[in-house]
Amino acid sequence: MNPWLKAAAGTALLLVPLLANAAAATSPVGLWKTVDDKTHTVTGLVRITEANRQLTGRVERVLDPKAKPGARCKPCTDERHDQPIEGLTILRGVRPSTDEPGVWEDGDILEPKTGKIYRVRLQVKEGGKVLEVRGYLGFFYRNQYWQRQE
């Protein structure tokens, strides 16, 4: 092989993980640990996937020690009513912001414990390790911070 081609191929191979890391640093796609702000215990795992420039998040596992095994979303009021919490879609319709790079918004998040749905905004922070999940109630909002699992 031409030595120049070899060098180019080698550089490309070196860049692949760097580019992958850069993407992970701004994209919420992946597996995230949800954490109770009060007790700092991990309450579950949520997998966020992307399709057609839209994010969807499903509860992969419930790890909350207080949760009943096989619990269902009793307070949910839409088609998710009485669905098992494990496997439940809690994030949907989240799109990249047209104003703020690295911000995903316009979708909603469901709290399976209460059945309440809030407008949501996502932003990856701390080099891809933390996901800031912002839930809105009218004009006001509160943040949750999820930790990247993988």
Binding site: K38, T114, Q123, F139, F140
Partner: protein
Amino acid sequence: MKISRNSLTDAVGKGILNPGQDDALWAFLADQSAHTPSFKPAHILYYLGGLIAIGAMSLFMTLGWEQFRGGGLLAIASAYCVVALGLTEYLLNHRRLPLPAGLTAALAVVVVPLAVYGAQHLLGYWPELTDQDNYREFHRRIDWRWMFMEAATLAAGAAVLWRYRLPFSVMPVAVTLWYISMDLTPILFGGDEAEFFSQRARVVSTVFGALMVVGAFVVDLRTRRDRDFAFWLYLFGVLTFWGGLSSLDSDSELGKAVYAAVNLLLIAIGATLSRRVFAVFGGLGFAGYLGHLAYSVFQGSMLFPLALTAIGLGVIAAGAYWQKHEAAIGHALRRWLPLALQELLEQRAA
């Protein structure tokens, strides 16, 4: 009751006033109301200008100012505070203009959280904050860590009110109490809940709002012969209470009926105290309940619209009866109240 210039001219025409007395009385009334907020061009300009200046230092604060860092923000906010207090002294003591003085006094209080935020940055209190967590978020983000800024604002508000006794200075105090009602729960119960907006936080807001309304009533009672110091406290107290109550879960129909009854009670309180804010929020809540009945409970009912119309007409009839016998009913109801409260109601109804 509203008195117009034409009313006095009519009184002269009917021989109630002598010619000339109407002019003297009108001049007296105009002088008395010069310092009471009303829908006059001068007053509109005062409040528009005041709200623009107050908004610039709070809701409309830009991200660019974060570049001043802690020390810069502290210095700028302190300078604003000193200038605003200087203007208040000047307007009050040299120009005898209490309305704009109230606005500049409020501005002095509004910049206090910015000064505290700058000081906290200087001392490294916000180490984890990034560019997304800036001063502007104070007005939107629910977070217990704003509490120091809120406590300082309350203290500054109390000091300004003690020094100047200008009703508009209550506004930043009332807004700050509203913010506290949302940020308080983690401090009371040791840490943030897992949910975004927990049921407990909603209950805390409702109770806090009710306490604000009680506080406003006490202020109203104590300043019944003075200017209206309770207006802003009532406004944000009712907003806090009603907002918390309306966001509470009430899965049962009984719970929803109780919510409707509370809203009717708000309307009754508004009518008694002559405070429109109770009637506005109570009306919104009750209309929401009727909407729930129409769209959920009696969705397919033929009788519901007829029954509701009958109730509406009944309420109109009650209003007509009330108007006809207002003096007698008012006298009979007020007889049972303490003297101070009787005086307050008469003052506000006038």
